[in-house]
């Protein structure tokens, strides 16, 4: 009678399979992430490699020939070396094929001992999927203005763009689950933010004075603000004197109210209120604006790797609100379930109940939501990098590549359309994640099936 849930018969998997677009999204993502993970293998060149002479800046995609011009018959794919000249009118470099140097056949699984790479920063290797013998060059998607291979840079940029999406999503989900869980589970159980001295007992002996310090600080700040207002705008006429007096009075009143409340009764706060109001405040600020202003708080000339983590943290920080709100709702309803009461009656602690009963109930929502949030973060990273606030050289990301693309002004898009390739990869990954998320939602939530 026990249900056989092998991969073949699992109903969730079956429903997911029916969603063609989602399956394709998953496959494309698999390819993209494999490419990012084994970037060195898939890219023909080191992403930061370029030649001073002959220069290859703004080289268009290399044409791959399949037909031998002499015999007019199909041949192994090959490329020609190119010759550079400067257009006398636009002063832009032009590249022409130069058959005189002979054919350079595209070879697979080539070794490039002069350009080794590492996989996961551990395994050293120099095996690459494809390449041509020097001095021939193969630029699948052209080069940037330094002459670096754009395809290699896109493959390496994917490492940053794709992992930032996942990492930021994980950060924001950690925050959202934790805070949403706390808000929901402890809703209606306010905690003390201060204790009157009459109740300083036990642990309160430590926390009581600590909380007092905090509140006294707040009261002092209110007074200080009011006084400095009066000091900075000294009143000359009776009207502004009156305003000064009023502000000082208000400050004193605020400080007095805090002190009165502090000594009379404990100040209590419902964690639900605290967290949900915070979510609303964050949600009320336009996210790109928030992102930029938060980024502005930190220095821009820090170590590139640090910037990477900074961007992850920032994106995660602005993204947790929506999830926290939904998780709170789910937790609120689950904690009233009979089986939670039953678990408590069996002696389970709060932590155990949260881990065993409450959080698993949010699992299917979280999985779906995760796959639908990641594309947002990929876009967010691109936006930040595009504005020059994201990752910096020598690291690269799709957003950064797009930013480099538009540096030549609008002409760069018409003269060198290949620089828009990173945009295509952003588009492809975002679309794939969205399809995948759609499919997961339909598969995990039978109610939404049509």
């Amino acid at each position: 009678m026990a249900q056989a849930t092998s991969l073949r018969t699992n109903p969730v998997l079956q429903r997911f399979r029916k969603h063609r677009l989602a399956v394709w999204g998953g496959r494309i993502l698999l390819v993209l992430y494999l490419m990012a993970a084994f970037a060195g293998f898939f890219s023909p060149y080191d992403p930061n490699y370029y030649e001073l002479y002959p220069p290859k800046g703004n080289h268009p995609p290399t044409r791959i020939h399949f037909v031998d011009p002499e015999t007019k018959r199909l041949s192994r794919p090959f490329v020609y070396a190119t010759k550079r000249s400067i257009d006398p009118v636009s002063l832009q470099p032009r590249y022409e094929e130069d058959p005189s140097q002979g054919k350079f056949y595209v070879r697979f699984f080539v070794r490039t001992p002069e350009h080794p790479y590492t996989v996961f920063k551990v395994f050293r290797s120099d095996l690459r999927l494809f390449g041509v013998d020097p001095p021939g060059r193969i630029f699948l998607m052209g080069t940037d203005n330094f002459g670096r291979d754009l395809f290699s840079r896109i493959v390496y940029g994917g490492q940053v763009s794709l992992t930032i999406g996942i990492l930021s999503a994980l950060v924001s989900f950690a925050l959202g689950l934790l805070l949403g869980g706390i808000a929901g589970y402890f809703s209606g159980r306010p905690f003390h933010l201060s204790l009157p001295p009459s109740r300083w007992r036990g642990l309160g002996l430590v926390l009581g004075p600590l909380s007092f310090l905090l509140w006294l600080g707040l009261a002092a700040a209110a007074l200080f603000l009011a006084l400095s207002f009066a000091r900075l705008s000294p009143g000359k006429d009776p009207f502004s004197l009156g305003i000064d007096a009023l502000v000082v009075l208000l400050g004193a009143l605020a400080a007095g109210a805090i002190l009165y409340r502090l000594f009379r009764e404990p100040i209590r706060l419902d964690p639900d209120d605290l967290i949900m109001r915070t979510v609303e405040i964050i949600a009320a600020i336009p996210s790109l604006f928030l992102l930029i202003s938060l980024r502005a708080v930190f220095p821009t000339d820090v170590d590139p790797l640090l910037t990477f983590y900074l961007v992850v943290g920032l994106l995660g920080f602005i993204g947790w609100g929506g999830l926290a709100r939904v998780v709170r709702g789910i937790v609120l309803s689950v904690r009233e379930m009979d089986y939670v009461q039953a678990a408590r009656a069996l002696g389970a602690s709060d932590g155990r109940i949260i881990a065993r009963h409450v959080l698993p109930a949010t699992a299917s929502y979280v999985i779906v939501s995760l796959s639908l949030t990641i594309p947002g973060f990929i876009l967010g990273e691109s936006g930040l990098s595009f504005l020059g606030l994201g990752v910096t050289e020598p690291y690269t990301s799709w957003g950064l590549l797009l930013q480099a693309a538009q540096q030549g002004g609008f002409a760069s898009f018409t003269d060198r359309p290949w620089v828009l390739w990173p945009g295509f990869f952003i588009f492809l990954s975002v679309l794939s994640w969205n399809f995948l998320g759609d499919g997961l939602r339909d598969a995990l939530d039978p109610r939404r099936r049509t």
Binding site: Q3, A342, L346, G347, P360
Partner: protein, 339 residues
């Protein structure tokens, strides 16, 4: 505390502090449960019987509820008597499930739908007895066998939705008894089941009680179940105990007008054949707990109400001399009228 006493509730008060005012859900209830005995707590919805059981387990949602007074003395497995209202939360967790277990009204929702039945029983065992998962699973299978579920080994891997309501209640009982509690609180365990299954479950509980030797605190509004199960009965009304007696005398000679009303409102095949009358009901409704009537809370619905006597002061719980207690100033007159 007397050696044979397992649980003694003394003047328990549980109040709920709501925005509309203070609801005195339980207002001075006292009773005791002896070892191996079954005590039934009977009353209408809102009489405070469920709150009493939750208060014993310290599971009152706080806020808004709080135990504001009284003692709950309980003799643990180690023979030590503790006041449960004064224990820390961690100490209380050791009592829950291990010394006192509880089964609930709704077997359909009391099991988590995402875990197998075996998982959930084993969970309780691992929590209190520190056994390995394998040992816990073996014990779980044994418990399923004990509560009369065929093919227990196979059933361990079932999810709750693969079982019927009666089966699930058996699982709940297996879960509750897996740690050999000395007291089982059963909060209307058969209300959600149909009649034939009810009888089976009650039979099972009686059998297990004999085997394990635990006491049962049985919360119900079903007087038929009380007659079947209980040794003694506490009748509750509006947060107070109004009558307490052994089960036979209570059914033969109910003293409090409310108990009489309850007994008369039970359909009886033998009487129906003779009188062909409509079933008697207690007029009116349970009072709003925010605004309890003055004096005896039952007086607006009582046939024997006397103005100026019943609505003045809350009548005390009187000993009648034959081991019974009743909370009615006129119980002697009422008893004579009937005799």
């Amino acid at each position: 505390m007397d050696e044979k006493r397992l649980l003694e509730v003394k003047d328990l008060k549980v109040h709920f502090f709501t925005d509309d005012g203070v609801v005195k859900a339980v207002d001075g209830v006292s009773f005791h449960v002896d070892k191996g005995e079954t005590l039934a707590v009977v009353g209408e919805s809102g009489s405070g019987k469920s709150v009493t059981s939750l208060a014993i387990m310290r599971l009152i949602p706080t806020p808004p509820g709080r135990i504001v007074g009284g003692e709950v003395l309980f003799r643990g497995k180690d023979g030590q008597v503790r006041d449960l209202t004064k224990l820390s939360e961690a100490e209380m967790r050791r009592i829950r499930g291990n010394d006192i277990a509880m089964i609930f009204q709704e077997p359909m929702t009391s099991l988590n739908p995402v875990y197998t039945v075996g998982d959930q029983i084993a969970e309780a065992i691992m929590l209190h007895q520190g056994k390995s998962r394998k040992e816990a699973m073996e014990l779980a299978a044994h418990m399923l066998e004990l509560v009369g579920i065929p093919e227990p080994k196979k059933r361990l891997g079932n999810y709750p939705h693969q079982m019927s309501g009666g089966m699930r209640q058996r699982v709940m009982i297996a879960m509750a008894l897996s740690c050999n509690p000395s007291l089982l609180i059963a909060d209307e365990p058969t209300t959600a089941l149909d009649v034939t299954i009810q009888a089976q479950i009650l039979e099972l509980m009686k059998k297990l009680q004999e085997e394990i030797g635990m006491s049962i605190l049985f919360i119900t509004h079903n007087l038929g179940v009380v007659a079947e199960m209980a040794d003694r009965v506490v009748v509750m009304y509006a947060g107070r105990a109004v009558e307490q007696a052994d089960v036979v005398p209570l059914f033969k000679d109910p003293l409090h007008p409310y108990t009489r009303g309850l007994l008369h409102s039970v359909p009886r095949l033998d009487l129906a054949a003779e009188h062909k009358e409509r079933l008697e009901a207690i007029p009116g409704n349970v009072p709003n707990p925010l605004y309890l009537p003055s004096g005896c809370a039952f007086h607006p619905r009582c046939k024997h109400y006397v103005e100026g006597l019943c609505d003045r002061e809350v009548p005390p719980l009187e000993d009648t001399g034959d081991g019974r207690q009743v909370r009615c100033v006129r119980w002697r007159e009422i008893r004579e009228v009937r005799a």
